[in-house]
Amino acid sequence: MEALIVNVLLALMMVSVVVLARTRNLFAVIVLFGLYSFLMATVMVALDAVDVAMTEAAVGAGISTVLLLGALHLCRSEEAKPAHKPWLPLAVTAATGLVLVYGTWDLPAFSDPEAPIHKHVAPRYLEEGPRETGIPNVVTAVLASYRGFDTLGETTVVFTAGAGIIALLRRRRRAHEADREDKP
């Protein structure tokens, strides 16, 4: 049943991607992006990754849709006609996709308990985590305690992204204000 739900959702995602690629109206494209994110979030819920689903729904479907709508406000709402034929990019994309699919043949089966990733440190975290940290949610224990240094790195990446965007967009505003002051 779960596999059926996931497969239906993935099929809907494929349909939305094909429609996305063929739509010329950018407003419709942004709405479809939001739809795609919500489908992805639902897949994550079906796979029991509720925290990833929350992030996908809030960032993918919520904030980035609003950001794209804001960007759309600054430009025209109809996509320009492509200047070249799509055959070469399409061939490159299809070839890369086929190579990636070929690569998945060597991966262990989905949720295989004998996979190497479940054999290394994961058993220790699962057995000792609740006792050592007193936290029932092992994901939180691993993220915040065992892998605290990695999470510090991730937080720094988010910080750097914010600082970069401030540096990019704020300077333009200052230049604009200086421009305005120069005029009179």
């Binding site: 809030a58 904030i63 050592e132 940290t133 936290i135 939180t140 915040a144 240094f149 988010v158 914010g162």
Partner: protein
């Protein structure tokens, strides 16, 4: 959208619950799914929702630009501060066992503060990006 009665009423009804859910995800992250990152983005999404319905200027009154920028840095500093607290208490960097005489309580304390740091930085960055994108039009660029 600032004059649409239905949207305004629904937004006023929903936003407190979104904020409450963000706090739940933040503080219940030890027991259920969630944590600092999720709470941060939900918080930011609630503010973005508010700004979309009530206008960017109203949102800037609730959370001014200066405060949002301070949040971006404060979260990382709080996280690093927990790391140095572990050093000062005689352990390693980001060692929570030494933060309390009871090691398990120390883990709880360390995780609580670093999750708070993550939430503050993530919501600050998301809001700042939104403010910068949404504010460009108002300045006539």
């Amino acid at each position: 959208m600032t004059h649409d009665m239905v949207l305004r009423v629904i937004a006023k009804l929903l936003i407190p619950f979104i904020l409450l859910f963000a706090l739940y995800v933040q503080f219940h992250g030890d027991f259920g799914p969630g944590g600092g990152f999720q709470a941060g983005v939900i918080l930011a999404a609630a503010m973005v929702f508010y700004a979309v319905i009530f206008g960017l200027d109203s949102a800037r009154k609730v959370l001014p630009d200066r405060l949002v920028e301070a949040m971006i840095a404060a979260g990382v500093l709080l996280y690093v501060g927990v790391g140095f607290a572990g050093l000062l208490a005689g352990g390693n960097f980001l060692d929570y066992f030494v933060l309390d005489p009871d090691p398990v309580a120390g883990q709880h304390r360390g995780i609580f503060w670093i999750e708070a740091g993550v939430a503050i930085t993530v919501s600050g960055v998301m809001l700042k990006i939104f403010y910068l994108f949404a504010g460009r039009d108002a300045e006539g660029e």
